[in-house]
């Protein structure tokens, strides 16, 4: 699998060049090459006309190529100014010149207009404020190329305006800016040219001013869509999951009410951080609930722990299999059986029935065509797609009435995607209720018969059947201009 396959990209001084594409299209890989994080296996990078081989992030920085990634590179225990000068500390006579750095840090923050004090400790800051520190770090050095990977994801309107003013400012100084975003409105505001990537391939470079939104979406998703998504026949039946005016304890979810019936796939769409995942997690008992009710299968299950929800037939499949889904150093057998060890097929009294366990897991492995079909092997030694299959197998070990799939296709190749969609269709047509949490627009459009759209912790819209169109969802999803 190539993350990037023969992609051409050029950046002129004083322009904002937007990279546009789905999750996993290769945008992040492309900028990691430019920023010196990874090296290309083939092809060349030219900088000011001359071929360039970047050895490290440090090397790139020394040339004025600076990147702000989605994952923060901050040390939480350090202060803002310590982070700003991390790896480039100024010294005099071998000792840190702290006053000097403090003064400069204050200058940078003032210039950017960020309401931060240099002496604040980073882990006390909100996510948006941490994002500001990360941006300030990039603006510290003399810039020639600035890379911004979805910088506004956690900024407020005012902070976003401030950032855009800055971008205009450095643009005027001849800095080239590579800008990654999902938001069409931002492309309109600051973009000059747009390069669209799909599945690691170069699709097109178009001018931002004259390209329509629908054209962009067509370029981003391509025509292959009909081959990826299965036809699903929905037969909405009895109510399985009902959430009433749910508020989470940390305030990420505010007053959300949704319902999911048997035989339908309900989408819960929204950007990363919109609180959609937290709604599902609150239903499963892993996100503390401040107020509101959760009813499952006619029973009030508000605040029930995962064990009780599992035993009632509710299954949550987490987005990050490495972080939350699987015990990587244990075998496929142990992982698959884990949620169902209290079922009769897996244990009698306190003792496990290992023979029966082995048989059941072996059957599931061949049903999901696990490659290689060795269930005693540690999960860590399988490919990403096959690890995802192990994760899915976990929910087939017991009777489940309602499934939550939380970003089920993040970081998997197209082949596995098709398999996962087929898997979800089969579950739904067999009469299960399915809640699909996703920030992937095509997924919502083509798999669901009803969709809720969330924006900053609150429900923004409910769309049914024919109403679920690109236009309609995008309207709420991407926070369109002049809505």
């Amino acid at each position: 699998m190539l993350a990037l396959d023969r992609v051409d990209f050029d950046l002129r001084p004083g322009e904002v060049h937007v990279l546009f594409g789905e999750n996993g299209a290769g945008k992040s890989t492309l900028i990691s090459l430019v920023a010196g994080v990874h090296k290309p296996t083939a092809g060349t990078i030219r900088f000011r006309g001359a071929p360039l081989e970047l050895n490290s992030v440090h090397h790139a920085r020394s040339l004025g190529i600076s990147a702000v990634f989605q994952e923060f590179s901050l040390v939480p225990q350090m202060t803002v100014e310590q982070n700003l000068f991390l790896g480039a500390e100024q010294t005099s006579g071998g000792l840190l010149s702290k006053t000097e750095m403090h003064k400069q840090a204050q200058q940078i923050l003032d210039r950017l207009g960020f309401p931060l004090r240099p002496t604040q400790q980073v882990d006390r800051l909100s996510r948006a404020e941490q994002q500001m520190v990360e941006i300030a770090k990039a603006f510290r050095a003399d810039l020639s190329v600035l890379i911004l990977d979805e910088p506004t994801a956690s900024l407020t309107e005012r902070e976003t305006d401030r950032l855009f003013a800055l971008i205009e400012q450095v643009k005027a100084q001849g800095v080239g800016i590579i800008y990654i975003t999902h938001r069409v409105s931002e492309i309109r505001r600051i973009g000059d040219r747009i390069t669209v990537l799909r599945d690691g391939r170069y699709i097109a470079t178009v001018p931002a001013a004259t390209t329509s939104e629908s054209e962009l979406v067509r370029l981003m998703t391509g025509r292959v869509i009909e081959q990826i998504f299965p036809q699903i026949s929905f037969h909405p039946g009895e109510l399985m999951l009902e959430v009433e005016q749910l508020c989470s304890e940390d305030g990420v979810v505010r007053d959300v009410s949704i319902e999911v019936r048997r035989g339908e796939i309900v989408g819960l769409a929204g950007l990363v951080g919109s609180g959609k995942s937290e709604v599902a997690r609150a239903c499963f008992g892993i996100e503390p609930i401040a107020s509101g009710r959760v009813h499952f299968d006619g029973e009030d299950t508000t605040g029930f722990p995962p064990r009780q929800m599992l035993d009632r037939g509710f299954f949550y499949i987490p987005p990050d299999r490495r972080a939350e889904g699987l015990v990587m150093m244990r075998s496929v057998r142990e992982n698959v059986a884990l949620p169902s060890l209290n079922r009769e097929a897996f244990s009698r009294g306190p003792l496990l029935r290992r023979r029966s366990e082995r048989q059941i897991v072996q059957e599931l492995a061949s049903r999901l065509s696990l490659q290689p079909p060795r269930t005693e092997r540690e999960v860590d030694h399988f490919s990403g797609g096959n690890q995802q299959k192990v994760l899915l197998a976990k929910c087939l070990t017991r009777e489940v009435k309602a499934y939550v799939f939380d970003e089920p296709t993040v970081g998997v190749d197209v082949g596995t995607r098709v398999a996962i969609y087929g898997f979800i269709r089969d579950l739904c047509e067999a009469g299960a209720a399915v809640l699909l949490v996703s920030s992937d627009l095509p997924e919502i459009l083509h798999l669901t018969n009803r969709a809720y759209v969330m924006y900053r912790g609150a429900l923004k819209a409910e769309l049914k059947g024919e109403e679920i169109t690109q236009e309609a969802v995008l309207g709420h999803f991407f926070e369109r201009e002049a809505a």
């Binding site: 499963f284 892993i286 722990p305 995962p306 064990r307 929800m309 599992l310 035993d311 949550y316 987490p318 972080a323 939350e324 889904g325 699987l326 015990v327 990587m328 150093m329 244990r330 142990e334 992982n335 059986a337 884990l338 949620p339 060890l341 209290n342 244990s347 306190p350 003792l351 496990l352 290992r354 030694h381 976990k394």
Partner: protein, 341 residues
């Protein structure tokens, strides 16, 4: 090694098979082999049936403690208070037994039972406090067990003033320290029984599976409906219980209650586990290997005694072995990545 593009050769070198053995079984078989060769050369008395039986008998206490330590390690923590638990058990058990014996000199076996129950309960109480701290209050296992090690040791010294506790009935030492059960020395018999019990617990029960899952990935365990707090709590209670049983058996062997025993137990039990391939990151480890690991340490100590190596130097050797085992584990991970089939 083959030239790229060619199929694997039919004949593989000795080095290749050594590497496979290393990756599969870890460093322990190699260390065991090296130790046996060295000590056999250094002392004629080493490789005799009688001496090896000695090794087994002497290693039982460490074996018990190490198996308990394994539960803490499996869940991704460790227990630095096992030595203190041995001491507290010894002091409380001996004091209670002696007091009961004075109060009712006729009821020898009743006072022995009272003593054992009191000792094990006192030792387990420390395990319970550890468990509450780690599982309920999210104190790091390092701080929690280090703190309790100090608390327990202080209590044991305070109770005895540092003086050994005498006055237990002679039958206690005769039966549990030097006696036989079905022709096997009692401590060895008790240990064999507990090995069997723990083997079943770890491999054949839900709780055993939960230890691995919680240590391997606590979030995945939560999402799979496992009560991670209860699991963590029980890990430390089990560690405490095993150390307490070892403490009682050791008291029987010494015939006195001592506040100063067990000081080397934390290091030695962790060393036994790590040498046996228990991962310090949690989630990996096997009972039978831990037993071998403890036996190995007993073997090395016995061999060094026979070879008349000074006891101060023995401490050096145990420390070095622990570090070698951890370094070897790193190499093993790398070799494993290379040998990926």
């Amino acid at each position: 090694m083959t030239a790229p593009g060619r199929e694997a050769p039919p004949r593989r070198s000795v080095a290749y098979w050594l590497q496979i053995t290393f990756v599969r079984l870890g460093v322990l078989p190699f260390l065991l082999l090296i130790a046996v060769i060295i000590f056999t050369l250094m002392s004629d008395n080493f490789l005799t049936g009688r001496n090896l039986m000695n090794v087994v008998r002497q290693s039982t206490y460490l074996t018990l403690v190490s198996m308990g330590q394994m539960f803490a390690l499996l869940t991704g923590g460790f227990d630095l208070s096992v030595g203190t638990i041995v001491a507290v058990t010894s002091v409380f058990g001996a004091s209670a037994m002696a007091a009961a014996y004075v109060a009712m000199p006729e009821a020898v076996w009743l006072s022995i039972v009272i003593g054992i129950v009191a000792g094990v309960a006192a030792g387990m109480a420390i395990g319970v406090v550890n468990g509450v701290g780690v599982a309920l209050f999210n104190v790091s296992p390092f701080m929690m067990t280090l703190g309790m090690a100090s608390v327990g040791f202080g209590i044991a010294l305070y109770m005895t003033g540092g003086v050994p506790v005498y006055g237990m009935p002679i039958e206690f030492g005769d039966r549990f320290g030097f006696g036989d059960l079905l022709g096997i020395p009692t401590p060895v018999a008790v240990t064999l029984m507990l090995i069997a019990v723990l083997y079943v617990l770890v491999n054949w029960t839900r709780l055993g599976r939960h230890f691995y899952a919680v240590g391997g990935n606590i979030k995945a365990a939560t999402l799979s409906g496992i009560d991670t707090r209860a699991t963590l709590f029980l890990a430390y209670v089990l560690a405490g219980a095993m150390a307490a049983i070892a403490g009682m058996l050791l008291t029987a062997r010494l015939d006195t209650g001592e506040a100063n025993i067990g000081a080397s137990m934390p290091l030695e039990s962790i060393a036994a586990c790590v040498i046996a391939g228990v991962s310090l990151r949690g989630g990996v480890g096997r009972v039978e290997n831990v037993v071998l690991g403890a036996l190995f340490i007993g073997l090395v100590q016995n061999g060094m005694n026979l070879a008349r190596i000074e006891s101060y130097l023995q401490t050096v050797v145990i420390g070095v072995l622990l570090i070698v085992a951890v370094v070897a584990d790193q190499f093993r991970l790398r070799a494993m990545a290379n040998l990926q089939d």
